[in-house]
């Protein structure tokens, strides 16, 4: 299973996680794990998701999450997990 990492970065506000989760659910994307942390006063969230049964391809999902991020005033990225594995794991 290829996992996708979704990150949200920005100023904290009500409803960020809710909005992202609704989008994921609507597109049949399963959340495997969620972690969050505050760095320098900024809200950082990481979701590990399984998009293998998703109704859209990665490129479209990344674009639509980017748009949702713009609505919320935060930055949302969707990246395939391999880039992090390659960089941080031998």
């Amino acid at each position: 299973m290829k996992k996708t990492i979704i990150t949200v970065l920005g100023k904290d506000r009500v409803g960020i996680i809710a909005k992202v989760c609704v989008y994921l659910s609507n597109n049949n994307i399963n959340i495997l794990d969620i972690a969050q942390t505050i760095v320098d006063g900024y809200f950082n969230m990481m979701m590990v998701v399984d998009a293998s049964a998703a109704s859209k391809d990665h490129s479209m999902i990344a674009d639509e999450l980017d748009d949702i991020g713009k609505e919320l005033g935060v930055q949302i990225k969707a990246q395939q997990e391999e880039i992090f594995d390659m960089m941080h794991r031998l």
Partner: protein
């Protein structure tokens, strides 16, 4: 499972430290395109390039989106055209027709440069080699995306001084033909000693005759990431400094390896090499000069610069080699003066001279790169500068190169604007004393004694 801190670290590098994959370059052999006449050959060249690379740009964009990492350039390199056109080109004008074909193919594929308008003349020139070299000024002035290179020396063969002399004149002529645009034609031409067959970076990329039919080579980058890592160990000793650079280089190169493997699979073209070079851009925070300052120099060019650069590049290689299955290309430090803001500043402050840049090429710098000199510099003086660089490469068994721009109508104190990635450059002073008699001798310099290893 990947931790949130690791994810944040990667994205911080991409977001704030200009981490990117600098180029995916597809090498394409044109040896099977040679036909009976020029027209047929040009048609086959166009067809082969556009068929091979039609998905190159789209694939690059797709991979970029998949991993959230910018892939700045998608480029093409081809077999040295002096070899391809040898039988069908009877004049320099014939070679220019092939240059136009390459330019058209590059435009169709959507790549920003195509390299390989080249001749390999490290020992001697064939008639075709000479015709191609003499066509370079026109070829570079009538095309936009074609890059040209000539290899005129190697450790095994010595230096072809006839070619070095001719190239001094060719560089001047190229500068004249493109004088309206700051002599920019010269920015698309590089002269080499020990040119590698698999270099993905422009202007010197060509697809060597030892290569497969098609191949994917990738150039990684990330001066900003290295600089940020070094700033986190301020005041620490060299052991700590070196370990830090090595670890950072490993991470950067792994991203390149990932992208290269994926591009190779998707395009159905074998993966060649990763080129481990720190390639700066004019963007703030993407500078090799800044790294040297962070290591502890007031400006690049200050005493200690050569040692700092030697250490830096060695650590980049040590970290990078383990991160990739195949390393090749230039894998050295690029110090293109006009493309690196802090190098420009160092020149303007009087800290960095042509002679110091030359010294830096002895250890790991790839050459005198994107250096603007006065427009009235003599052809023999340019040849002399080239000969010095070739000698450094020949004796040190490394690649050296010269990409120098005599900016017609400008002199020391002026600056020239090339625009975009090529940046701008202050005109640097050149030693005024003559080397006419030396250059006019002709012939070749024999290979050095330590090249006889059999």
């Amino acid at each position: 499972m990947i931790s949130i801190n690791e994810v944040l670290e990667t994205n911080e590098m991409i977001q704030n430290m200009n981490l990117d994959v600098r180029t995916i370059t597809m090498g394409i052999s044109l040896l099977d395109c040679v036909g009976k006449d020029l027209k047929g050959t040009c048609d086959r060249i166009y067809d082969k390039i556009t068929a091979s690379a039609k998905n190159l740009v789209a694939t690059g964009q797709d991979i970029s989106k998949k991993y959230g990492i910018p892939i700045v350039h998608k480029r093409i390199s081809v077999t040295p055209i002096a070899i391809v056109g040898g039988s069908v080109c009877k004049s320099s004008a014939d070679f220019v027709e092939i240059a136009k074909t390459l330019d058209a193919a590059a435009n169709t594929c959507g790549v920003n440069f195509i390299g390989g308008y080249s001749a390999l003349v490290s020992k001697g020139m064939t008639k075709a080699d000479e015709l191609l070299i003499r066509s370079i000024p026109e070829a570079l002035s009538v095309t936009g995306k074609v890059c040209s290179s000539v290899n005129c020396g190697s450790t095994k063969t010595g230096i072809n001084m006839d070619a070095v002399k001719l190239i001094g004149e060719i560089i001047r002529e190229t500068a004249e033909l493109t004088r309206e645009e700051g002599s920019i034609g010269c920015a698309k031409f590089v002269v080499f000693c020990n040119a590698p067959d698999d270099n993905p970076f422009m202007a010197g990329a060509f697809h060597g005759v030892t290569e497969a039919d098609r191949v994917i080579n990738v150039g990684v980058s990330g001066p900003g990431v290295v600089k940020a890592a070094i700033s986190s160990v301020k005041g620490k000793d060299f052991e700590v400094l070196c370990e830090t650079i090595k670890k950072t280089a490993f991470k950067i190169t792994r991203v390149g390896q990932l992208v290269a493997k994926e591009a190779s699979e998707r395009l159905g073209v074998p993966f060649g090499i990763i080129d481990l070079s720190l390639a700066p851009t004019p963007a703030v925070g993407d500078s090799v000069g800044e790294i040297l300052e962070e290591i502890g120099l007031e400006y690049a060019g200050a005493p200690g610069t050569t040692a700092a650069l030697a250490m830096l590049n060695d650590q980049v290689k040590k970290g990078g080699v383990m991160a990739s299955s195949y390393v090749g290309g230039l894998s050295g430090a690029f110090i293109p003066v006009s493309e690196d803001q802090r190098m420009i500043d160092a020149v303007s402050a009087g800290a960095l001279t042509l002679e110091k840049l030359e010294a830096m090429t002895c250890v790991c710098s790839v050459g005198l790169d994107m250096i603007a000199i006065p427009g009235d510099t003599k052809a023999t003086t340019i040849s002399g500068i080239i000969a010095d660089e070739m000698a450094l490469g020949m004796v040190n068994q490394k690649t050296t190169a010269v990409r120098i721009i005599p900016v017609i109508g400008k002199t020391v104190g002026d600056t020239v604007e090339f625009g975009g990635l090529l940046g701008y450059a202050p005109i640097m002073p050149v030693n005024k004393f003559s080397c006419d008699e030396f250059i006019n001798r002709g012939g070749r310099i024999p290979a050095p004694i330590h090249s006889f290893k059999n």
